[in-house]
Structures are given as C-alpha cells and as structure tokens.
Symmetry: D2
Subunit: 365 residues, 4 copies
C-alpha cells in the first residue's frame, strides 16, 4: 500500500500503485461530483456522499471477501480493481436518469475502461477485459455484483451513516465471515443466516424510508422531466464526462422549462403527488389533463415508481453440505419481494397550487 | 435535575431529587450486581451490562415519551419513576430463574417498593400504588410495558451496544416521534411504520442471535440445574437481596453438584446439546437416560426453550383517524411470531464426553 | 414542532412553524449548495456536508443550551432562529474566499435577513434586528458565537462524522451541562474543565489534520487564484445567490486561466508546495519567479496560511463563585495558541512539473 | 482462524487453534470475572467490562501492528499470544490492590504461564519464555508494552465505549499506519504526530475524568482498607485463582470491619474526602485522628493518589531519517506529565457523618 485514504465507514483504506493510478484518473475523479443518492438529500440533508467514496468502500470490502475466500494476491488485486471501477460508468445523478437515457452503468463501465483508466490497468499488467467481466458479475465477479456483494454491503452501511437512518447498519463482519466459494459460486454458511436476513430486510427498509421516499420520487420525476428535452441530443460519451452539476448547467441553458424545473429543485419548491394508480391503462391521460387544466406540459408529470427488476432472494445457503436457496429455509425471506413490490405504482405530480384541481380531474376520469 | 449520570447509550441522564433518592436505595443499587443478559457474556464477552443502567435508560426514554405526548410535569415524573423502578423486583440472573422459582419480576416490584424505596416515594409525595400500577402496564403504564415501550427500546439498543451485534440499533427517535395517545391507548402514526417493523424484526433477530443462542441456552440450563436444590428452600425476600454472585456463593455452599456445575460455568466448560425434540412426550426419559448411561443426575439436563408467552404484534397504527392493528397493514409483520416460535423446542445437554453416547441413546428411544 | 428532519449527528431535529418558513426560504436552501469544508473533500472524500445541515445542528444545540440555562420559550425561539440563520450570509466555498472578496459571513447575515427570510421572521412576530444582533454575538448571542458555542460544538462533531477523523468527537452533553449564565456572560463550572480542554485541543487537532491540511491549503490557494479575476466585478448581492458550483461556472466562463485552474481542481491535479517562509519580506518575488521560470501568472501562487484572528482562550470558569479565565487554572490550555500559530506561514505552490525548478529558484533568492 | 468472537470495539476477532486453547484455559476464563476498571462503575455505570475482552482486543491490535510492520506469520502469532496473555497475571480488581499485595501483574504473568496455559503454548510449538519476554516489553514486545502500544490503544477506546466518555476515541488506524521499526525500536513517522499527541492527551483526560475520578479514588481506598487484614495471609497463587467477587467473599468472611466496608461499597454508601495534602509529612496522623474523634480504625482512611511511575513521553518520531523524541518537536506534549502529576496528593476520607468533624481536626493540626 503506497497511500491511505480516510473513510468514515471503513477507516483507513490503503491503495496499491495501480489502484492509485486508477483513483487519480479523471474518470474516477469525476465520481466525486456524482452524489450517491441523487436527490435523497432533499429529505435527508446529510446524504451528500458521492460515488467516489462508495467506490473506494466497495474495493475495500471486495478485498476483504477475497482474503476471506483465500484468494491469492493476484486475484485479490483484480477483484479490488473491479470493485473500485464498478461505478465508473455511472451517469450523472446515479440511477435517476438511466431509464431516460436508456443506458445502464454496467454497460458504460466497458466504454470508460477503454479510456485513460484502461491504460493505467494495462500498464499495471492487467487485461481490461478481465476487469470488465468481473464488474459484470461474471465468475468471481459475483463478489462485486450479485445478491449479497461488496457493492450492496458498502452502500447500505454508507447510506445509513450519511442519512442518519439506522436500518442499513448491517453486520458486514459476520456476513463476510460466513462466506464460502465452490467453483465460482458464492455461498453462505447456515450459521450466518440471521445476518443475511437482516441485510435483506435492511435493503427493503432503505427502499421504503430513503430510496423511494415519496419526496424523493417527486424530485426524481422533476429531474427526469427537466432532462427529457436532452434525450437523443446528448450522447453517452458526453454524459460520461459530466458530474451532476454539469448536466444541470447544460439543461438550464438548453430550455426554459428545464431551467424552471431545476430552479424549483434548487429552492426545494417541489411538486406534490396528486394521484396514484396501481396500474394505469388510460392513454393520453397527461394530454387530457393538460388541456383540461390549462397548464403547461412540464406542470404535470406522470411517472412509474420502478424498483430494480431483479430482486429475487435466491441466495445459496450451505446446510449440511448442500446448497439450498435461502427462501427454502428462511420464512422471514419469503414475503420480502412481495412486500416491497407494493411500492410500485404510477403517480402524477404537479405544482402545489394545482394539486386539488388535478386530483379532482383524475378522480373524475 | 440535581445530578447527572453518564450513560453510553443516551449520554447524560439527569436525576431529580426523588429519583436520586430512589437510585441511592439499596434495592436499586442491588441491580448493579445483576447482569442484564445473565450468561450471554459467555458468547458475547462485552455483555456484562447490568439491570441498573438499563433502569436508568428506561426512565430516560419513558420521560421522552411522556414529553412527546404532552404530559404535564407531575405525570411525567410518575412515568419516569415507574421506568426507573420497573426491574427493581428482578431475581438474580434476570429472567433465567423466573421459571424455577416461579416468581415474575413484575410481581416482585410490588414487594420491593414496600421497602425503603417505598418510603422515598411517599416522602417525595408519590403514592406507591400508583407507581406499582404504572409498572404493571396499567393506564399510562403502557409507556413502560406494552408491545413497544421504553423498556424494550432501551434494552434492544443497549444489548446491541454491549454485545457488538448490530441488529438492535433501532430508530428510537423516529418511533417516539410518531407516538400518540387516545385515552390511555398508545398508538403510532402510520408514517412511522417502517421504524416499527424494524423494531419488531430487530427483536426477533436478537432472540435468535443473542438471547436464545444455543450456547446461552445450555449455560442457562446448567444454571437452573445448579439452583434446583434451592427451590422451596430460599424465599423471594431473600432472593431480592442478592446479586448474581451472591446466589452462586449460596448454591456452591449448599450442594456439591451445584458447586460442580457453577465451577464448570466459571471455566466455560459447557455441556453440549445432544438431542432436541419439537415436542417431547416421553415420560421418565431423563431417569432412563441416567440409568442407562450410568451417570449422575446433574450430568443430563433436559429443558424447554421457551420464548415469552406474549409475543403478539397487535400494535395499533393510526391510519386516517382509525386505529388498525399493524398485522392488518404490514405484510412484514405477519409471519414474525411464527418465524420465531420455531426456536421453541425441548433439548437435552450433557458433558462433552457423554454427548455421543447420549445422542445414540435418544436416537434409539 | 410541526416537522422533523433527520440529522446523522443529533437524530431528529424538530422545527416550529417560523423555523420551517425560514428553512423553506431560498436563502436557507442555498446553503445546501455550499459545502461546509470547501475543498477538504479532496483529502477526506466523505467531507461533502453542507452549511445547510450545520445550520440545523447549530439551531438544535443553541436550543439545548437555552433550555439548560432556563430561558423562557420566547427567548429560546430567538436563540434557535439565530443559530439557524448564523451562516445564511456565507459566500460560496464557505471561508475560502472571504479574504479575496473581503466580506465576512457575519456581516452578510444582516443583508440576507433583509430579504425574504426577513419577512418570514417579521410575520412570525420577531424583529429582524434582534436576530441579527444575536447572530453577531451580542448579549445572549454568545450562545451562537463566542469561544465555546453552539456553532463550534456542532461543526467539530459534524466534521468528524464526515471526515472520519476522530478528534472532533467532543463531549457536548457534558459541556452544555456545566454551562451557566450571569447577566449575559456565559460561563462554565469548574467540574467540566476536562471537557472544555478537550474541545479546545480538538479544535487545534482539526486545524492541523483537516482544515489546514497541506493539500487543502494548496487547493484553496488554487481556488482563490481562479477567482481573482472576478474581484471587484462581482458583488456581494450576486455572490449571495450562488452555490459553490454556480460560482465555478461563472469563473470558468469568465476567463481561460480560471477555467484551467478549476479543471485541475476537478481532476485533482493539484499544484505542489515548492517553498515556505516563516515571514516573507521579499517584494516582487512572484513577478521575478514568473519571469525567471518563464511561466504564466497563474502557474505560481504565493499565499499566506492564516488562522482565524481571534483564537484567545479566555473562557470564563466558575471556581468558588468567582469567574476565572481558563488559562489561569488549566496548564493544558496555556500553549494552545502558540502551538497552532506555528501553522501560519507563507507558501508558494506550482504545478508538479515546475516544483523542482521553482524550489531551487527560491533557494537561490 | 478456527473461531471468531464478536467484540463491540473491533468487530469479529478471529482465533487460531493455539489461541483458542489459551482462551479456553481456566486462567484466561478467570479474566471474565475481573473488571477492567475495578470500581469505576460506581461513577460510570456502564463500566462493567472485563480484562477478558480487553485481552482479546490487545491480541487483535498487536496482530494488526505486526502485520503493518511486515512481520512473518510465526512472529505475528507470538506477538498475538503475548497480547492475549499480557494481563493473565492480574490480581482481582485489576490495579487497585497491586500496591497492597505488592505484586505487579507483569510479574505474575510469568507464574501463570507456567500453569495450564503454559502447556497449551508448548504443545502448540511455542517456548513459554519467549512469550513471557514479549509480555515484559523486551524486543518486539514493545508492541505490547511501551509508550504507545496495543494494550494502551485497546483500553483507551474500550474504556470510552463502556463509560460513554468521549475522550478515549483515539485514531488507532492512523497510529498503526505510521508505525515503523528499526531493529526492535518502534517509531512513528512524523506525519502521524497529531494522532499521537491526541492519544497522549486522551490518556491524561481519561486519568482525570475516569481512572482517578474523586469518587473512584474513595472507593478504591475503601476496598484497599477492606483487604488490609488479608495482607500476608493470602498468597499470589491463591489470588491468581480468584475473580473480584471471590476475593470479596473471602474478605467478608475474614473480618467484620472488612464486611462492613464491602457492604458499604455494594450499597454505594461511600466515604467522603475530608482533607487533602500535597505532601503529608505528619506522622501518626491517622492514629491521632482516631483517638481524637473516637472512631474505629476503618472509619478513617488516609491514602496516596499515585499515578503510574513511568509517564514519560519519549516516543520516537522519525523526522528526515532521524529518530527524535516527541517532546523535542511537539510543544503540545511538553507539559503533559506536569499537568497530570498535579492529581497526585494524599487524601483522607471518612463516613459522611464524620466529614465535618474530621475536616476541622485536620485543619487544626
């Protein structure tokens, strides 16, 4: 280790020389300007932490897992690099705009690694493809990206620390200590099952209290609305050079409606949810609402609250030498997906002064 | 407040004059010598905290709840005193011996308050009966003793701090902030439901990982076995003057088998679980085992793992001006009781060297 | 309290209605876009917290102190409002540019309170002047601004939480508990002297390890250099509408050298310190260096490391009914100012590739 | 690692097979019954932690230091064992009775290691003498026992956690990261000097606020008085089998005055300090006081407050390839010893009802 960086979660995080080269690249430094939780800070004012420190934390935990699994130094270094780089392809505002611009951050990691960072890796004796594959969750990459991985363990604890919400305080020591591997399949010994249940429940609780808090949902809908005019006119390559604020500046200059929405976000003058549907099948509802209420296009936003597609809880537990999916032995886990999916619905939001009118319009229709 | 005491959980806890008088009584001081978690320290070496500090913490949280509910100073002081005194009738080793001696600590609070502590209360202008009733959970006493109360919030957080197990880190600020009262019925506003689910889950996790950890179960079975000869020969009054170590000294002097068991506990030479039954209906099993294996009475212990009788989760949630039991609106809560009841079973334990022989005996029968 | 906000330091912070109105004003919301520690996040990546949450925390602690001192509700509310508003006049980048633009944030509070926030205060029945005076440290305002105050207690703990540096973990409970007041003079009872010494030492340690870390010094010098062209061309009124990023955008558009410096900061390609002087009395040194080395104006920055002017440690301690300055009774405190003043010096920094050349130039001169 | 133990300070602590054997020995298990801070729990009710967990923590930190210094596995295991065993020779009540019985715990470690624990070591391939030497601070043993060592780092953090006093929250990560070794001389790189100063100050603060708190001083004086009759009649070998409570039981049975004092301690009915001397040179003062006041021998205790003999702060700091004692470069450190030595004085304490009479007697004399 040739340098250490102080992290409020894991203490001193050491960096080897290639890792330091990666950290010093503009691609990684850009992550300092992308907040981990996008607009959650409008509800939890402490949540200003960035993808940069989360990347360091993921590297750290990935390394601890690799050590626990008895990997040799070379493999451990690759796993750590994959952890460090797993979010390098994130758009500004983290996940908030992935739907709009139709770009997932894992996909992008590939592109970014072909830039300057890629050279650092090759100069350090690593093959870029190998690291990209690990980031994609292939083989030992499950340490970075699977049901219970370094990424998730880091963000749950980190988001707790900065929001002040207790739920994410998972027992990472315990979980890492019961990890094992067969071929490239990660598993967990049965004696650690309480810690794993606790992590899965914690994630649900963080979804509900933080990531999908109703105010956060509205703010992200406003953001997406503000960015819509840029769709198709701004490419991945350009986005991958921007931080959150750069993209806001660009959108503000592009379009007065975007500027208005972003100014409202800055002043925390947020739209209010005026209606919600479990399943919305009416067409042209927004058009009709706008016409009927005599308002502008951007004053009515209808959006879907969408959890990650894959939430399955098929974590392999080792019980008497067999691997069993956790749902088979843990009644606690059984309803977790169902419980949290109920957050998924379609909502309409509008400026506070329009809320009542909009509500009664939707009730009529 | 005329004195403050530093608590690692709540910071400085202030004491008024009557409270200080109560704290200074021998009955309350005795709680310094009763560990909160009996033998859990054999698994979690940090768990040496006592009923004394837990009593201070319960008083503190009870006062915060009373304030939140808008109670006047007089009522708040009563609630605080009830919180302070709620465990004053605990036997040595907390709950471990309540079954054997057939004495519940709530029952005992009454007796103890009639001693010196009672005089302190009366001199301070409080009626003893009123405090005893609050401790028993009557009326506003639900703040001290109900489904979600000051007692439980304190012990979950405190036990986490000392064991180092993360699960108990509940969000007491949030829970207190959503509390309300109608008549003397405590309720919780719906917006706080995640915090309440989290507390209920945390309790289950603490049951599994700490309070009913298999090693703890064995140690408590050994303790109870060591105390059996005293049953019927030692009265509540005498027990209520003793700390954990006093009772051990007494049992050691009383009986060589008791001494042997307690010495094993001190040296952490514990029995091993050799068999378990979901429901044991064989009679004379222990007698037969002893005869067959040629061992002494105290070398085979058969005991029931018993959770608290009342675990129902019928916490009232206020939703649009109606009180609804939480189980009606929270799918998370539905299976909690069922999940944790599976810990209940009958087990047999014996010295390690007898484990295999005992196991095959039980398999045969 | 009609709303609560979750803070990672103090837990749930309640807001009354006027306070909520103040928080919702654009002036206060702007503080969300000003980082508490300017460029410290280049060394401590977790240090992205903002003046906004610090303002909430200061309000909270100010209220606790007022309560402790037995103030009535009305006075307590004023003190809380002063705490909430004490940083509302901060320029972008907190203290970093106060020298350059020659504007102190206390001065500005006055101007800002005359805007929309001022109306909220007046509508709520408060006189603006009264709050401004409290912010300025007059009378009971010492609770907000003096040697040991709500402001300082909040920022030390908060900066520790986000940087991960342990030193700031001061004992605020203890300090508040030993506070007293005579007229409008705050004092501290002698029994709390260890806690106060600890706070003063903690501040020194935070100066050395965080606020004046050598990398932070360089980054702030680069920032100031980038902003120099705006001096005299941008007014307080304009600055007081900007967040950190707004000012960066403005400077980038203004001037290519500024853009270059800010791009270097974004990519963390920092200048290196090449020389330092205890007392620099050479004139025209920069001009000569630039000429001699054949470099551009902005490639050599010479700046003074300047601690706050007032660091005196004359905190009044109550000892047997007399107020004594702490330096009279605490040998620990005696050298604190001298110890930390040694950080003050003049430094020159330049791009890494120029470091050696510059160093030998300065050695020659 | 074949087993892990959960520690609230360091998380999961792994144990190798020899280490597990050592932990399971009766000598080590005895440490569960010796509280780390003797009677500090009378002031800080959370301070019930034991020498047992502190020993595990010291082992853990010693191992981290060894790793940092690049030691091989074999040496690291020895260092860890020395850390684990460094307190195995402690008398009941930790340091409180070392003066009375004139036995230091380092001396005793030797004797104890010659018991069952010694066999575990030898069976595991270690030579007992080697471990004993390391415990004594010889050679690499400075990692366990010197100015800044694993022992001290563990107890400062641990005592903070359990007392709730913030001062001990030292930055162990940072300190370990700047450690180096030349021959067997531990040193610290200069860039870590703030962390080291902070540790030294923290120790002073803990002395003042916790270890030598005036109530703690009185309680320990009462304890020593209660044990005096046993002096010369109980040997080291016997003491080294006892926990705190065992020794209390023995003293109670031995002598009615001892019983009375110990009962007072249990009920927290403590003597009061009635007088103190910077240097007491009167002879027969106690005898005269007893005669004059007409009280019993054990109702007047005169005792010296004595800090550890060696408090020198000659920690070697590496500055530009030379080792310099810290006092040469840190003005902060200069007065630390002088500051804390002022706690040393002679005090007299007596039952509260005698305080005034005793005070005026001493004032007369």
């Amino acid at each position: 280790m040739i340098k250490t960086i102080r992290d409020p979660i894991h203490g001193d995080i050491g960096l080897g020389d290639v890792e330091l080269g990666v950290v010093d690249s503009p691609q990684m430094q850009r992550l300092r300007r992308i907040r981990q939780l996008s607009f959650c800070s409008l509800v939890y004012p402490g949540a200003n932490h960035t993808r940069f420190e989360h990347s360091l934390g993921t590297m750290y935990l990935a390394g601890k897992i690799a050590q626990r699994l008895g990997f040799d130094d070379d493999l451990t270094r690759k796993i750590r690099l994959a952890g460090l780089l797993h979010d390098v392809g994130h758009l500004p505002f983290s996940h908030s705009l992935e739907g709009l611009f139709d770009i997932s951050h894992e996909y992008n990691a590939r592109a970014v690694i072909n830039g300057e960072v890629g050279d650092v890796l090759e100069d350090g004796g690593f093959r870029k493809k190998e690291i990209v594959d690990l980031i994609g969750g292939k083989g030992y990459g499950k340490i970075i990206s699977s049901q219970i991985d370094a990424d998730r363990m880091d963000y749950l604890v980190r988001d707790s620390h900065y929001t002040g919400v207790a739920y994410g305080a998972i027992d990472r020591d315990r979980i890492i200590n019961v990890m094992g591997i067969e071929g490239d399949n990660l598993f967990f010994q049965k004696k650690g099952i309480v810690a794993i249940e606790a992590l899965l429940i914690a994630r649900n609780q963080m979804f509900e209290a933080v990531y999908f808090h109703h105010t956060v949902r509205v703010a992200e809908a406003m953001l997406e609305e503000a960015m819509k005019p840029l769709k198709g006119r701004i490419g991945a390559q350009e986005l991958l050079k921007m931080g959150d604020e750069d993209l806001k500046t660009r959108a503000r200059q592009d379009n007065p409606a975007s500027k208005e929405l972003l100014d409202l976000l800055d002043a925390r003058r947020l739209y209010k949810i005026c209606y919600s549907w479990k399943k919305l099948d009416k067409e042209n509802l927004k058009e009709n609402a706008i016409k009927e209420l005599g308002i502008e296009e951007h004053e009515m936003i209808i959006y879907n609250v969408k959890l990650p597609k894959r939430l399955t809880f098929e974590i392999p537990i080792k019980e008497e030498n067999k691997l069993v999916p956790i749902s088979k032995i843990s009644p606690t886990v059984k309803n977790l997906e169902e419980n949290i999916r109920r957050l998924e619905e379609t909502e309409a939001c509008a400026p506070p002064e329009l809320k009542d009118k909009a509500k009664s319009f939707f009730e009529r229709v």
